[in-house]
Subunit: 205 residues, 4 copies
DNA sequence: CATGAATGAGAGTTCATTCAT
DNA sequence: GATGAATGAACTCTCATTCAT
């Protein structure tokens, strides 16, 4: 069993190596400029080797997609410990943004990019995404129940808040914010969160 | 003169045909996957023919970009006649969304798609985009001056509102809204606008 | 007849216009970079028009070839008046070189370039070339008869002298003379003629 | 080690195969008319395969260039052993001609053909050519010092002699010698060398 | 006479992918 | 398990040429 185990582990490590390299290259060069050959060269294996670990190029994207949602979910869990629902919601938005801005290629892949076989993936993949979405909804509901937000349609509220953060993230990532100086972006994002979310806060009686 | 006129018209129609087809393919497959050959095949002309009407692939993208911003701007002018700034702002958001949802190809190209030579083009092209952005800012300022919104940082407010609408538009267009039934989308969008914008309204004294 | 005549003349002028433009472009851009479309644009006619005057692109080359030999022959006739055969021979070589260096594209076309349909052309065209070659031979024979050159094989002598001048011309035109500074070329050519030809002179008794 | 060696050898053979084929086609059709696809078809490989051995079309040209100068230089070294400078010079000219006539493709490429990026390459490539040119100059100088030639400008003498041999070679290779029957060419060349060079000999005192 | 519109053929090049070893 | 060698299919783009008008 020891041998099988080790093999298993090695296989996983190789997959990780490929995945990490692919992601690094995506980040460095942008998606469409990355080639299988490029990845292979970077890890100093032959292109053919990659096919031992992934069915094809899409399979790599697919795996990164999954990995992305995993990381995304983990990234947000840090706010779990915050007791106050309102503070938690604010931090939630901030965590969302920090993930997006620190992992732009993952974010792009997960929420912006048009992937191949959209529908097929959508169904399978959204499991992971859903978990995060439900987490957000839970948080909003907590706020409603705590009286921080009026009890409106939860789905609408979640969609609205998500749209807002996604809007910022995707405008920034896809470079549609020429009017905002690069170094000012984090501050503007924060201020925008204040403008849109903080201001919604109902005083708890 | 009649002949020259007809020729002129035919030339324009051909350009339109190419542009429309390109647009459709861009939407269906994403920018990088669209090939000149593909467009040519679709309109049943030879690839070489396209070069009679456009310098190269980028020139097509460029023309679509320009056209898109033109339409976008025109689409929003309908709200000009609305006197009350607050009503105007609401309509503004709705107009934004209706443009996006009725012209997803253009919207995608203008605000989502990653084009080649992003920066160079950005500078030239954003002239047109800026006009629309300034229009939004003016509207927000009118609301502030009319007392509908607190006098906060105008840039932040504009960015926040834009992000929100863009977020909705891009999630829908890039199909990240599996959790919302398709037919419910317009209603949800409207409700979300209420949730995010309408609720911000300060009572005028 | 007046009309037919004028038409004839106009046709010739158009041919000349095309030919001159073609040659100018060849000179400016080098042979391979000149396109029919380029010529057409230059003379502000449509590409199709050129086909009314020339069968195809080759036909233009062919016409230039003929024209080139014509000019070449005329260029050399200036030495006719020189009485002394030896002086005439020297001038002959100099005239050869001045034609080559002043009309590098013609020279290239006539004596260096690999034309299409080599053999066919060779047969027809060499008539014109031959005239010039015979002229050289006559000159050499005059020198022999006048005692300036030993009475050797005339064909060999002609070939040798022609090879020498052609060698200089083609090395210069095809840019194989990097080791000679450009401005020194005329002087070196002259000196080389002295070295190779002048020194062959037998003192007439 | 045997395997690695064989692989190495096979790789070299493939390069040679490509190079030889390219050379043959260059000679047959001229540089501009030779296509990668043409080479590929000729060797019955796919066009893509060629890119495994050469960076691009120019790289092939470059390799041939280098190889050509290598061969050319080696070809001339055979005369090194000749003691008498005058005999050596004569043999030099003959060796030059035999190289040109036995390797017309290489000769054409090295001394006649107009390649792309002429100047850039010229600088790098001429190193190899220079070696041969210097060799010729040395030989001429030896003749001067031995009293076979008058002490004139060495550069002029070298250029003159080179021009002469190059002229013969290029007229023959580019088929401008219709007036000389093919089988007579070697004899005429020899006679011309006598006419031009041998006759220059000053009697040594 | 002149041409606008169109194209077939073909250029160099790149890439994901396969497969015998 | 790993790979060197190979390729089919695609890409963008150019050009000489034709033909209906």
């Amino acid at each position: 069993m020891g041998i099988a185990e080790r093999k298993e582990k090695e296989k996983k490590e190789m997959r990780s190596l490929i995945l990490d390299t692919a992601m690094r290259l995506f980040l460095e060069k942008g998606f469409e400029k990355v080639t299988l050959r490029g990845i292979a060269e970077e890890i100093e294996y032959s292109p053919a080797t990659i096919y031992l670990y992934f069915k094809d190029k899409n399979d790599i994207l697919f795996a990164l997609h999954t990995e992305g949602f995993e990381r995304f979910y983990r990234h947000q869990q840090t706010i779990r410990t915050i007791k106050d629902p309102w503070k938690r919601l604010r931090k939630h938005a901030q965590a969302y943004m920090s993930f997006a801005l620190e992992n732009p290629e993952y974010y792009d892949l997960m929420f912006i990019m048009r992937g191949p076989g959209e529908k097929i993936k959508a169904d399978r993949e959204w499991g992971a995404g859903m978990r995060s979405y439900d987490f957000l909804k839970q948080n909003i509901q907590d706020c409603m129940e705590a009286g921080y937000l009026p009890r409106e349609d939860l789905d609408v509220a979640a969609f609205a808040i998500w749209s807002f953060t996604h809007g910022m993230a995707s405008l920034i990532i896809r470079q549609r914010c020429g009017m905002i100086p690069k170094e000012a972006i984090p501050a503007v994002v924060n201020a925008a969160v204040d403008f849109m979310i903080e201001a919604r806060k109902k005083q708890k009686q």
